[in-house]
Structures are given as C-alpha cells and as structure tokens.
Symmetry: C2
Subunit: 226 residues, 2 copies
DNA sequence: AATTATCCTGACCAAACGGTCAAGAACCGG
DNA sequence: CCGGTTCTTGACCGTTTGGTCAGGATAATT
C-alpha cells in the first residue's frame, strides 16, 4: 500500500544521516504507542485516534508516517518476529540438552519480560485466528520448530533425555513463559503484587527450569552432572 | 442497564414453563454467536452487527434480548467463570497429590477443548488488562488459588512432592492447558493438522501429566505407586 | 373474540471509524 | 536568501459504530 520511500529523492545525500532524524524519532514513538494499543485491544479494537493520542501526535501525522492501519500493524508484527527469530538460533545435537533447554526457557522468559506489549500483540493476533501470520506460522516458524524437534528426538535416542514428544515440549515452554506477559493482569491480581520485579522473574525462571528439566529426565546444568 | 425482567408481569404464571421458550432459544443462539465474535476480536473489536449476522438475526433483536454490548459481554464472562469454578472444587490434604494434579490437568484440558471460544474470550479479556474482571481476579479467584496453594505446600511438607512454589505450579498448568485453546491457530499451523482430534488431546494431556508430575517429584497414579 | 404481553425489525441518530487532501510550517544544502 | 524537500495538521468524506424508538407481527390468556 505504501512504497518504502526512496532513500533520497534526488542524488543529494547518500548517507542520509542528519536527514531523517525527525522521522526516526517519530516513527519510534508511534510504533511504541501502537504496540501498546494493539496489544490491549487487538487489531480491530485499536483505533488510530487512540494510537495518535498515546503518541502525542495528531492522527494525520500517524498516517503520514505509517501509511495505513494495516501497514502499521504489519510493521509491528515483523519487528516482533525479528526479535523472535534471534532466539535459540544455533543449537546442535552435540550440545548439552539441559543447557540448551535452560537457555531456551531463560531467553524466552526474557523476551516476554523485555517486550510484554509485543508479546501481547502477538498473542492477540494468534487469538484472532492469525489472519496476518498464518503464512509465517505454517512456513518459517514450522520449519524452525521441526528443526529443533529433530534435535530433541536425537537426544532422546541417545538416552540423554526422556523420549517425550518434542513439539509438545516446545509448546509447553512457549506457553509457560508467554503466560507471564500475556496474562500479566491475572498474575498480578492473584499474587497481589503491583508488578513483577527482576527477583520474581528469576524465581519463576528457576522454577520453570527445574520442573521442566526434571520432567524430561534432565539435571540442571548448575548442579553436578554426576 | 437492564432489569432482569420480572418473571411475570401479573401474577399469571409461577411456573413460567411454556412461556419464554422463544427467549431461551434466541438467547442461547446469541450467546454462542457473541462468544465466537468476542473471542476473535476482543471487546472493542467485536461489533453488534457481526454478532447479529453470526446469529442470523437483525441487530435490533440482539439488543432487544441483551440490552447492550456491555451487558452481553458481562453475561458471557459470568457464564465462563461458572464453568471455571466447577473445576477441582473439593480437594483436601489427604488426597493423593499425583491423582489431584492429574485430574487438574485433565479437567482443565477438557475445559479448553469443550469451550475454546470461551477460553479465548477469557484470554482476550486478560490480555486487555482485565477491565471487567479485575475484581474477580483479585478476589474470588485469588482465594481459590491460595486455598489450593496451601494444600500443595502441605503435601511438600509431608514429603509427598518436591517443595516447588505452588502458585507458579498452578500458573504452569493453566498456561500449558490454556495454550491449546488460545493459540490453536499456532498449534494447527505448526503441526500442519486441520484440527486437534480426541486422540491428539489425549496425547497432549498424557504428555503434560507425565512431564509436570515428574517435574514435581511425583509418579503418575496409573503406574505402580511403589 | 378481545386483550394483553412478548417478540420482531426497519428507520433513524450522534459519535467514532480509517483515510484523503490541500495548504502551510519548518528545515535543508546551495 | 532561495528552491526543494520533509513535516504538520485541520477540514473533510463515506462508512460503521452502539443504541433508540415506534409500530407492526405473533402468541398467550381470558
């Protein structure tokens, strides 16, 4: 719907450094505001007016930078997918299962903590049937899962861990970690806390690591490997 | 906003049996349709027009029965909370931990399976910061959790299970089971399945039971208790 | 058959929706 | 100081929003 704007209309600036600084600042502000609003109300429920107010700009300005509501939404999803893809990108059969799973749980937990709005935005998209992400789910992400699942299976064959279904295991880790971003309101309401601090998150991470690793027949790498 | 309609305007019918049969049918239809639409788009994103079309009725008729969008939404939430409350309502310290946890996982999984739209409706509400449910979360549900947490702790004290934090454990079970309703689109996209059949659900339930129970130092009740 | 309560719905309303546009303001290297 | 680009924004458009209402259709009670 909107061409990515030619880097420079005439052959004036190849660096494009000092130029576009306003654009960068405003786009950053708009993206942050939009992430909050989309996360809270979903795609349909979010209004450009609300996003604009959250960003402290007139609605027209939001459209000037983002083209349309759909473009803005897609841009946020893509940004979140990039953060996602950086996770656990290089593991091999020769790695230690316990270490890998611990790293997986830890980094996924950190992702939920560092980008709670992005996590909720993603969750809302899936909840609504993933109209924008279906292709990604059944393509790129599916291959990502299958590759890791194969490694888990090989670990099981070598007797390094219990022969559990690797896909369900990945889903278990996803859901358990995602929960603390997506259901934050529930967690806070039930625990009575005002927010989850670093100490809480570390405690939860330790709990999840302990239970899930033990549940797969693994010993945490911090403990003596025997 | 809308009074619960006097059972009978005059003192005509105390049974109110044959009367109101149309109302029951239409309300059931509307509630089912609304649950789907609210689950998909959240409170703000759902439109009465869409709900009416889904129910095969004119918009005015939906408002005639439900009063307002807010009333309809609250009614759906309350219905879902009732299903919720029926879960694991009577456990005691003298029960077998493994049996209780297995029953918990199983019944929660069944709830997600039998009422996926209700599950997603609930998830969307929490995702949006639980504007309608905050009171319930920090009141009734909080007490529900605390009561069960206390029992888990006593089991741990008696050495019947590992001394894990009981609240995080409850959250783990919630998230892992809820996942298959809320993130159904993701699960289907990644597994490549068209839907999750009974066999799949049983398999997942068995996986979760196995990993979580073992992770807490419990042996599944189906196996020999030693 | 008359009456009354319930059910049904098209027409209508003000507000909010996503999006367009033109005209001006601010900034830029030359 | 100039000419061109980028930025800013209020006015505006057609559509959709949640909700009201009057009035006709239907069914139940007497």
């Amino acid at each position: 719907m909107r061409q990515p704007q030619a880097v420079s209309a005439r052959g004036t600036r190849e660096k494009g450094e000092a130029n576009g600084v306003t654009r960068q600042r405003n786009e950053r502000e708009i993206l942050a505001a939009a992430e909050r609003v989309f996360a809270r109300h979903g795609y349909r429920g979010a209004s450009l007016q609300a996003i604009a107010e959250e960003a402290g700009l007139p609605k027209s300005n939001v459209l000037y930078y983002m083209g349309s509501k759909g473009d803005l939404y897609v841009r946020l999803l893509e940004r979140m997918m990039m953060r996602w893809n950086a996770l656990l990108d290089d593991i091999s059969v020769d790695d230690d299962p316990a270490e890998v799973l611990e790293a997986f749980i830890h980094s996924k937990m950190q992702l939920s903590r560092r980008h709670p709005e992005g996590s909720r935005l993603f969750a809302a998209e899936i909840l609504g049937g993933a109209p924008f992400l279906q292709e990604y789910l059944s393509g790129e992400l599916r291959r990502w899962v299958q590759a890791r699942a194969r490694i888990f299976e090989q670990w099981a064959e070598r007797g390094l861990m219990d022969p559990v279904d690797p896909v369900w295991l990945i889903f278990l880790i996803w859901s358990a970690t995602q929960h603390y971003a997506d259901f934050e309101a529930q967690v806070l309401g039930i625990t009575g806390k005002g927010e989850l601090g670093d100490a809480d998150v570390e405690q939860i991470t330790a709990f999840l690591t302990r239970v899930i690793l033990k549940g797969c027949g693994l010993t945490p790498p911090s403990a003596a490997p025997g």
